[in-house]
Symmetry: C2
Amino acid sequence: MEVNKKLNIILIIVEKEIYKIEYSLSNAAFSATLSDFRSAANKVSGDVISTPCLPFKSATRIINLKAECLQPLGSFKIRAAANAIESADKNLLQDGIITASAGNFGQGIAQAGKNRGLPVHVFVPNTASHVKLDSLINLGATIEKISFENWWQIMITRSTGRKGFFIHPFSELSVILGNGGIGLEIFSQIPNVDTIIVPVGGGGMISGIALAMKALKKKNVRIIACEIESSTPLFSAKKAGKPIKVERGASWIDGIGSTGVLEEMWPLLDQLVDEVVVVSHSDAEIALRELALKSHLVSEGAGAVALAAALNPKFTGANVVSVISGGNIDITTYSQIINGTNL
Amino acid sequence: MEVNKKLNIILIIVEKEIYKIEYSLSNAAFSATLSDFRSAANKVSGDVISTPCLPFKSATRIINLKAECLQPLGSFKIRAAANAIESADKNLLQDGIITASAGNFGQGIAQAGKNRGLPVHVFVPNTASHVKLDSLINLGATIEKISFENWWQIMITRSTGRKGFFIHPFSELSVILGNGGIGLEIFSQIPNVDTIIVPVGGGGMISGIALAMKALKKKNVRIIACEIESSTPLFSAKKAGKPIKVERGASWIDGIGSTGVLEEMWPLLDQLVDEVVVVSHSDAEIALRELALKSHLVSEGAGAVALAAALNPKFTGANVVSVISGGNIDITTYSQIINGTNL
């Protein structure tokens, strides 16, 4: 990894192809090789599990579910969180760690910080689910609830007015490398995969998976993002050719869907994501129920969106892996949906 | 494997120790080695997955959950069912396969039979859950609903009056060998395990796991059975020193709990099971909810009983693996329990 502090952007070079992040604070260029992704995966091997890829029966396509909801704390975010802390300069961590998260990444940082004796403070949007906030508090983190708009400002500015080492939940090199571990595992489990479907919030997971597939020289694997109909920042950005502000409608699904793609992530998502599939709430609810009844997984909304997208007619004949990103969902909402009470 | 048709019992010889089954129909003696268990596991590798052992957070003991609910069809039974068909004389299968099952084993036989183009007929007790019966029909099996008493008679006599090759759901060598695969995987995943907790219905799973641990020369691993308070045939047999008839109270938990240990299985269970833990319905309901909230697994009642048993004070300090045997549960009952509506 080569770091050049003089650049005002990050150039991620994988297999001689250059992927750009217009970064607001950090300034670096690095070339990531397969061994960088493997090294990140090794660093966090004590924090995470290698999740199974579970076959999901379909008559018209092959679907496997990468069950990240089975990770400790019920989310893929532990991979990136642990790698971000492991990769940080130890001197910078002495005032503790700060992050902004709707919950899952905050939990990962809280757990990884706790494991290393570091205090963690998490800014959360007031839309975050109770189960995620309770979990943060149980992990010993302090939390600060702010409006979604102010919370999103922190995502953009990285400025919180608080002392401590700030770790961005997705626009962070160590986060992207940590998430790449999902891609390495998918390839080893389903070598013939041709389509990977990933729910997109900030874009850190899909970027990590896509870059890992590049490092593996699997250029023919389609990288598909999925979003819920009530908030389609990436779909809209792809259509407009640039990030635009979108409505953020009411939804029982959290963790994905914002009011716009972060400017600094756009060049990466523009280059790495082949297509965006938008899923309806009714299809997401059916998928949540199927995940319970057929796969025996408790998924959060974002994971259900990834299965619903895999069932889209456009993937007939494909060999799909859908990433079931997490399993932290309000239990009352969940039990109503799987019982069909609100269908 | 050595078969002696003249014996009226089965002697299973593992690591020079002899385990006896007083068998009603089949007559055999065989010595099973580690390679027999491995061979059975290999035979079914196309039908089953190697399920993960998921850490379950506890302050007082190590608990890992062997998530057999993630198997195709949501139950460990596919292991034994596929091995039973694979091990049968092909000429005997031409009239199809018959089994008696509360659902999970029947599903396994139906799936494995379907994969091989063989018709399957399943006798089911009228206590079996709708979700299990629907699944059998969807897999192309024919079903015949009979009283629990008549169904249990088939278990004892192996006589159905119907043409076809009968496969017993637990008192069957191929079933026991197939289930042994769970033990092999547990040992490779958690080499320091000292306590394995298994929900007991007929006893085929716990026998397979226990014998596999013997074949692995892991004699210090405690083999713990668990039962639900409304029906405790093995606990009662252990106390009485022989199988006795017990009450079978109402319960939302199916798949475990009968009116008595099958005579032919008693010598095996007597020798192999170190202790039986009886779990209350309220503890099972809490465990079912914890499996959803913390482990993101949809478990059936028997799996919840295995986690509840692991949380018993007597296992403080232990390194426990609990087998979450399956995930097929009526969705209305399930959603009510995880939502706390019926707690």
